[in-house]
Symmetry: D5
Subunit: 149 residues, 10 copies
Amino acid sequence: MISTREEVTQMILAAKVSKGIQWKQVADAIGLSKEWTTAGCLGQMTFNKQQAETVGEIFGLSDEAIAWLQVVPYKGSLPSAVPTDPLIYRWYEVVSVYGSTIKELIHEEFGDGIMSAIDFSMDIQREENPNGDRVNVVLSGKFLPYKSY
Amino acid sequence: MISTREEVTQMILAAKVSKGIQWKQVADAIGLSKEWTTAGCLGQMTFNKQQAETVGEIFGLSDEAIAWLQVVPYKGSLPSAVPTDPLIYRWYEVVSVYGSTIKELIHEEFGDGIMSAIDFSMDIQREENPNGDRVNVVLSGKFLPYKSY
Amino acid sequence: MISTREEVTQMILAAKVSKGIQWKQVADAIGLSKEWTTAGCLGQMTFNKQQAETVGEIFGLSDEAIAWLQVVPYKGSLPSAVPTDPLIYRWYEVVSVYGSTIKELIHEEFGDGIMSAIDFSMDIQREENPNGDRVNVVLSGKFLPYKSY
Amino acid sequence: MISTREEVTQMILAAKVSKGIQWKQVADAIGLSKEWTTAGCLGQMTFNKQQAETVGEIFGLSDEAIAWLQVVPYKGSLPSAVPTDPLIYRWYEVVSVYGSTIKELIHEEFGDGIMSAIDFSMDIQREENPNGDRVNVVLSGKFLPYKSY
Amino acid sequence: MISTREEVTQMILAAKVSKGIQWKQVADAIGLSKEWTTAGCLGQMTFNKQQAETVGEIFGLSDEAIAWLQVVPYKGSLPSAVPTDPLIYRWYEVVSVYGSTIKELIHEEFGDGIMSAIDFSMDIQREENPNGDRVNVVLSGKFLPYKSY
Amino acid sequence: MISTREEVTQMILAAKVSKGIQWKQVADAIGLSKEWTTAGCLGQMTFNKQQAETVGEIFGLSDEAIAWLQVVPYKGSLPSAVPTDPLIYRWYEVVSVYGSTIKELIHEEFGDGIMSAIDFSMDIQREENPNGDRVNVVLSGKFLPYKSY
Amino acid sequence: MISTREEVTQMILAAKVSKGIQWKQVADAIGLSKEWTTAGCLGQMTFNKQQAETVGEIFGLSDEAIAWLQVVPYKGSLPSAVPTDPLIYRWYEVVSVYGSTIKELIHEEFGDGIMSAIDFSMDIQREENPNGDRVNVVLSGKFLPYKSY
Amino acid sequence: MISTREEVTQMILAAKVSKGIQWKQVADAIGLSKEWTTAGCLGQMTFNKQQAETVGEIFGLSDEAIAWLQVVPYKGSLPSAVPTDPLIYRWYEVVSVYGSTIKELIHEEFGDGIMSAIDFSMDIQREENPNGDRVNVVLSGKFLPYKSY
Amino acid sequence: MISTREEVTQMILAAKVSKGIQWKQVADAIGLSKEWTTAGCLGQMTFNKQQAETVGEIFGLSDEAIAWLQVVPYKGSLPSAVPTDPLIYRWYEVVSVYGSTIKELIHEEFGDGIMSAIDFSMDIQREENPNGDRVNVVLSGKFLPYKSY
Amino acid sequence: MISTREEVTQMILAAKVSKGIQWKQVADAIGLSKEWTTAGCLGQMTFNKQQAETVGEIFGLSDEAIAWLQVVPYKGSLPSAVPTDPLIYRWYEVVSVYGSTIKELIHEEFGDGIMSAIDFSMDIQREENPNGDRVNVVLSGKFLPYKSY
């Protein structure tokens, strides 16, 4: 009996290591970006029936697990409010150090509102660089204005 | 007597509103990006003497305040560990929902290590879009590998 | 020198009590709903120039304060993560007790996504009732779907 | 041996996914609203004997589980004080941003007291809209005044 | 300029000590219980005009402060979620140790619902006792049932 | 192997539901108040040998479990510092709203000291009332004075 | 205007440093232990009229401040739940490391109950020791048994 | 497979209850104080081989468990930063109320430094007293001075 | 099925105790420092294939566990934000007491930037000393400057 | 009136910036290490009379401030339990990632006990390096063993 999506995520992670699967392979198999696909496998996005079956086949999941992949998950992938993992912490630090800057510049350009985290996409790329390669990440989110009523 | 950089940030914000200054104007005046300049004015970066004097002139700061702009600040621009402002929260949410995804994909591409938040730059742009304009943000950070020793 | 919107909110609250002003009067004067207007006066929304001047006149604010009313505020109106005020706590309790229910039913109807808190409006009305009058609140938010990419 | 209502909620969620049950079907079967019924299935409300047996039949629960559905649960459906799930967070944000507004307007209309979260009902509906469908939620709670004594 | 009820509470406390006023005197003056009156003076209840003026006279408050006494306060009288003061902590401990017992016995007697903290009164009395006097407190709250809908 | 009292509490709760036992029956069987008896069954009080055996017989516990009932437990019956359950929260709210009032009035009557939560008893009764029945709770605790030394 | 005991504590600390007063001198002047006297001066105990006047004279306090010394304070002398000061932290560590041991041994000797922190005294002495002098602290608290009722 | 000392502590506690062992008996068997011995059995101290074998024999532990008794544990015996158990809380309260007093008096006597919690011993005794027996605890810790360098 | 690196760490710790393995032996076997090797075994670093196989052989791990040793772990080895273990707490205390000093001195020498915790190594040595042996730890991290852009 | 050491620290920081003083100059003037001297100026260590006067002269402090420099401070230099400043966070991260490693290796070498943070010194040096200069920090603390008693 599976009663949370988290359990399915654990199955996927166990299978990924024991079978040596790459996230990019999964993304190619379902024909979407590696960012969205990985988020889905980690329990943050909802697969449709066909995607879920493909994922299930790759990781050797039961029908019950495949059904869970099609259920909207309770999102949030981190075990604590301030992340302890150094890689993820650096992102939290960016929000901490640059958060007020981002807020000021978006408001200066667009007025009051937010950058959507739902109508949103992300693209992670390696930039080769003689001083050490760089991670380049493009975040794109629709601007949603507050309106008076 | 000024005893924290925070007080200087408050002076800058008060002057900005009463004088109607734009961050981009400040950035142009010191010849750097609007992202770094704004972060500096908000107490997250350190200005050199010339930059500090230019900033001081724009906002009408005292010599003591200008001296503080050249002191490395205690960084972190948010008043709580989980931000309450909707715009900044959306960024925290991205880290929460996509954090494990970002970690997996950077490790898949680069191995163990982090994306630097120090050797780092950010660029925020408006993308015109018939379905509603978008905020596009490019984050670029050097990959720093963990090595065994 | 005013360096935060919070200070302006304090001025408005002090004037409201000493002058005996009603939120509805303010809303009528600027021609918008009492909900949005009150949120604006409490430092959660941004006024345009004309609205700010009207608000300034009603509460007797300085030009500097009126300028601050037109600056996008750092939002979040509660002093602690779990509110202590009984009225506001009841709303937090609704989110705590019914949160998973709301999530399940919106997903059952709409699929994966959220109800926007930005493209959002609220209407609070008294319903007369022989067993004791009721507070009726209508919340209306655009559904924003997660899409794969 | 079942020693918490939470375990029964887990059984219901597991059965719901593997059997493809809709909350509305459950609500129809027991003849109550989808909002109250779902809250009950998620461990926030108490079923009477007949309701519990109907729910038990739908989800294939044991007699012991059906007995637990009739026990008043320890309520609160969220795993953390500040919810991480984006949909539920938006509701928390409404309380954060509009909390002081709701407080002011209810007090302006009714005086000191609260809007009950016990003598309370909720109704969630889809509103079709050419700019994107909306989620409309009506909350209705009895006003309970503080009295002096 | 007074912008929070808290400031008025501070004025009352300062006057109480410097003038040597007793809470019971205040209660007698406004003709209500010492429990409700003290809670009001400490910023947790709302006075009507006549009560506020009596309180204002006793403590020597300004008209502005008297106006604030008639405004519904943001309630919650403790500086931390877990109180540090030994007397108040003992009450928190009662909730911690006996909380589940209180819940079980009220549900056994009344079914699902709560004991109201709004339609509520409290009476504190000294009971003389040869083994040491006792504090006896009677709490009386209306039972509010959850109903299905 | 049982290694915490908590496990015994779980056994009692499971047996209570499956056998339909009432707390009052247990209290009658051991000849003490329903308040103390329930607190004991919920792992907050220590039974003597005879009481433990009676409780064990009622709930069908093993000898090992009965031995644990006679061990002083690690007390505290709530899963979080601020309780999420609405009934228990109302009690926490009483401490929050009336805490400073209780403190002031006990000190006004008794001087510096506390109301004991150890030399303490509690009595919960239904009061019939045409406006809706009330829960009346009497708390009685010995006053313990601070003395100088 | 003084509105909290904390302000008086600050005055005492300021005077102590500028006048070079020792706690033992204060204790001698009021004829009580240095432990209780210091706790009183630091805002944790209540002085009677005569003691307050002596303390006031030593530290040069105003009549208003002397009145506050006779008011029962809101106790708790540390600025955070886990103390950061190394000396005070060591005591917190003793509670953390030895807490369960203290609990087991008091219960083994006395049965269920507590060691009072109210009917309590403390004595701090230097023990000369060739391996380095030691701090010896004797804590004495009345045992208060839980009784059934 | 045992992978934490905590599991061994659980085994000891289970055996203690089912076999009715007293901590003093264990202390006598290994020839050390009851305080240190109990702390060791509760997973806070490290036994040497001979002590571990004696403890293992008394509680009927496996060889693997006996090996774990000789491994330095991750210390800290309380499940939360602020303890909920009334007996242990009283100790935390002593640190909260008297913490600043202890700090002042040790510094007045010894200068800057701490009372060691490592080079430390504790002795718990019953003091018979006609007003109710008392728990007397002697804490002895070496003074460690901060030195300049 | 293994689904987290944490489970492998538990296996290593269990095997270490039951087999009596020393960290230095493991470090010698893989030819790296004892610091890095131990961190790796405790789930904080990533082994390459050959290292993982050596570690697996020493601790008797399954192929699946050995595969997990080569996966980048979610880092952070402590169970709470403020560590409770006395040895680890002392390090946290150094950061608390000396943190601002370290910041000032590194900035005085290097300007704005950080000392890397990634391009970092650590060396722990015993220094014999007649007054008691000392633990000497050398931390070496690359300085990473913030640059303007 | 100065009532906390913190106020003196603020005066020192203000003077340092306006006068352009270096910590090394201060250290030279009092003839001690830059690490200890800076910690003292930042309110973490206690100066003797002569040192305090030298510091007072350098920073232009009043006699009252100089008296405070000789009072043992309430230590802890960071504004939050998890530091937000990137430089200081890296040190916290070292404790988080390497904490269990440090614990294991010190215990492997010395047995149960701690590395003192009181009988402790720190030395921070620049190491020139063609790949980028490094910060080298030597921490030296006396090993303090736990002993049985």
